[in-house]
């Protein structure tokens, strides 16, 4: 049976249809969850997609954090449900304290819109279940605030606990420890700046994103069956 994935939509989100289409391509059943609603609908997993939630006013994700739907996302995450934040969704999850650290302006002060090569650094997350550590993936990045920042103590902890999920092969934005994505302690909440949904077909220059979405469904299915 197809797994249900809630794709959260804030005013200003703009990647929800790409995410939904890529999810359908790997056999999931996505539905959009409007930020003003208090619930997520029937969801086996949640994706917070990219865009400019609430216009990125104040800081990316700062206002989205207070949207009604985020209480449901937090409850779902705390109960162990798989939650993935992509790009602006990653920023939302850090502002909501579901993931550590913060995303600062890129070191070069350039908006980056390019293909990036990332290396899988942990297979213990909901987005990399069964994907070998060291696997290199070509995924597009498209951001101004992708420069991952955290205190030295937090960075040490992430390293020690194997919670750095993706690293840039060639760091484009100044991110600490070349971090492109991190997970929470349990591994069920993952945030990453690159866009797997935009690497969902060779026609788009890469289909490597499907590897991650399939892994998400494996992790989600294993949890649903448990």
């Amino acid at each position: 049976m197809a797994l249900n994935v809630a794709v959260v939509v804030f005013p200003g989100t703009n990647c929800e249809h790409d995410v939904a289409e890529a999810l359908e391509a790997v056999g999931a059943r996505p539905h959009l969850a409007w930020h003003g609603e208090p619930g997520l609908g029937a969801a086996d997993a949640v994706i917070v997609p990219g865009g400019f939630a609430h216009g990125d006013y104040l800081r990316p994700g700062a206002i989205a954090r207070f949207s009604p739907v985020m209480s449901a996302v937090s409850d779902f995450a705390r109960s162990g449900g798989p939650v993935v934040g992509i790009c602006n969704g990653f920023q939302v999850l850090t502002e909501a304290h579901l993931l550590p650290g913060a995303l600062q302006k890129n070191a070069g002060l350039s908006f980056l819109c390019q293909m990036a090569e990332v290396e899988v650094a942990s297979d213990q997350s909901a987005l990399t279940t069964g994907v070998a550590v060291g696997t290199r993936l070509r995924l597009p990045v498209n951001h101004f605030e992708g420069n991952y920042t955290a205190s030295p103590e937090v960075l040490d902890q992430l390293e020690a606990q194997g919670r750095i999920v993706f690293r840039y092969v060639s760091n484009p934005n100044g991110s600490a420890h070349d971090i492109a994505g991190v997970a929470n302690e349990a591994g069920n909440v993952v945030g990453l700046m690159p866009h797997p949904e935009r690497a969902s077909s060779e026609l788009l220059g890469s289909a490597d994103g499907l590897v991650l979405l399939r892994a998400l469904l494996v992790a989600t299915g294993a949890r649903a069956a448990a």
């Binding site: 502002e95 913060a102 600062q104 002060l109």
Partner: protein, 84 residues
């Protein structure tokens, strides 16, 4: 109730890199300005509010600063308050 105006300044914590401030600083020689050794960019918010007294007003603005205006992971904030 009395009316107050608060100025909240939000700045990056020491040690957090500030590419914006660094870029401004690097541009200064081209303007003929020398001797500036550091520029740190931040944000300022003017907030007007009604509260029972100055303590209540300060407490409310500090809550506002910590909960939304600043991201404590990378930023700190300071509040100055005046009665209107």
């Amino acid at each position: 109730m009395a009316r107050f105006q608060a100025l909240v300044e939000v700045q990056l914590r020491p040690g957090i890199s500030d590419p914006q401030g660094a870029t401004i600083q690097r541009s200064l020689p081209a303007l003929g300005i020398s001797g500036v050794s550091s520029v740190r960019a931040g944000k300022a918010f003017r907030v007007e509010l009604d509260a029972a007294d100055e303590d209540a007003a300060r407490s409310l603005v500090e809550t506002l600063s910590e909960r939304i205006l600043a991201n404590p992971v990378i930023e700190s904030s300071s509040v100055s308050l005046q009665a209107l």
